[in-house]
Amino acid sequence: MDNDTPNSIGKVIRNTNWQLSSDLENQIMKEVNFISSRRKQIKRDRTATLWVFSFAMLFGLILNFIPEKYIPVFAELSSDTIRLVFQFAWILLLLLFLDSYVVARRSYRASVR
């Protein structure tokens, strides 16, 4: 088609683009920054959740190895009760951890999409 006309239609079309009248660049960047900050927030939340529950589980593990007589609260309880309390706490922690991890992962994926 370039040979069709002395002025070369192809050249003119290539150089003739509609100019955006509004400040679209800043509007897009506003959205981009919003998405970016949301992603970072979710990432931070997820990291924080991981740390908190890792510490909690580590703490529980350490506590488990300390003889009961050194812990005044436990000294008065029977060993069966203590075991029960620990088991309950561990299951609760595990469930909370899994729940927050799944929620964080789902929202992260949603933000990426």
């Binding site: 239609i9 003739t16 509004s22 679209l24 660049e25 981009v32 990426v112």
Partner: protein, 185 residues
């Protein structure tokens, strides 16, 4: 292309401001593509905005198999065609009624100023059907590469060539009509 990939990597590394470069570089091209399909400033603008946001969201999935611009234009084209389907403003029926009669193969057009040409061509492109003006716009944006037009639009090879052929003929026809109108008016 190297430039684009460099900026894509920077964005992936968390430097969001690098996206500004890609917006500046491609916003007018993208707008031209969108307006070719939609024929409406406001909708085209919305489509460009949505397309760029989509590009940013999905930048992790860009593998660099095609150039960044081809990938971006494909997203813009899809968004524009989707919007067109939603608004049901497809004017194909009317323009498909064009026949090839009386269209000269070689078109002799008078010499004109560049600005005049730009104005006339933009008007002529606005008169073409969405598919035809899109085909013409992409064909010249992608340096007359039919394969790239095919990649962006998702049309088959034969379909692309047919639409392009028809688009060129119709563009000539519209240009002739506009010139005649200007001569008389």
């Amino acid at each position: 292309m190297m430039d684009d990939l460099f900026y894509v990597e920077r964005i992936r590394a968390g430097e969001d401001e690098a996206f500004r470069f890609l917006i500046r570089k491609y916003q007018d091209y993208s707008f031209s593509i969108a307006i070719s399909v939609l024929k409406d400033d406001f909708m085209a603008q919305e489509v460009v905005q949505d397309a760029f946001v989509k590009v940013y969201r999905n930048l992790h999935s860009f593998q660099g198999k095609s150039s960044f611009s081809t990938w971006l234009f494909r997203i813009v084209t899809n968004e524009a065609l989707m919007r067109l389907r939603k608004t049901k403003q497809d004017r194909l029926e009317f323009y498909d009624s064009f026949t090839d009669e009386d269209v000269p193969v070689q078109l002799e057009l008078p010499a004109m100023q560049d600005e005049e040409w730009e104005r006339l061509l933009n008007r002529a492109l606005q008169e073409l059907s969405p598919n035809e003006s899109l085909a013409i716009r992409l064909f010249y944006l992608e340096e007359e590469n039919v394969k790239k037009v095919r990649e962006i639009t998702g049309w088959t090879d034969t379909n692309t060539k047919t639409i392009l052929h028809r688009a060129r003929k119709n563009l000539k026809r519209v240009l002739l009509a506009l010139l005649k109108k200007e001569e008389h008016g």
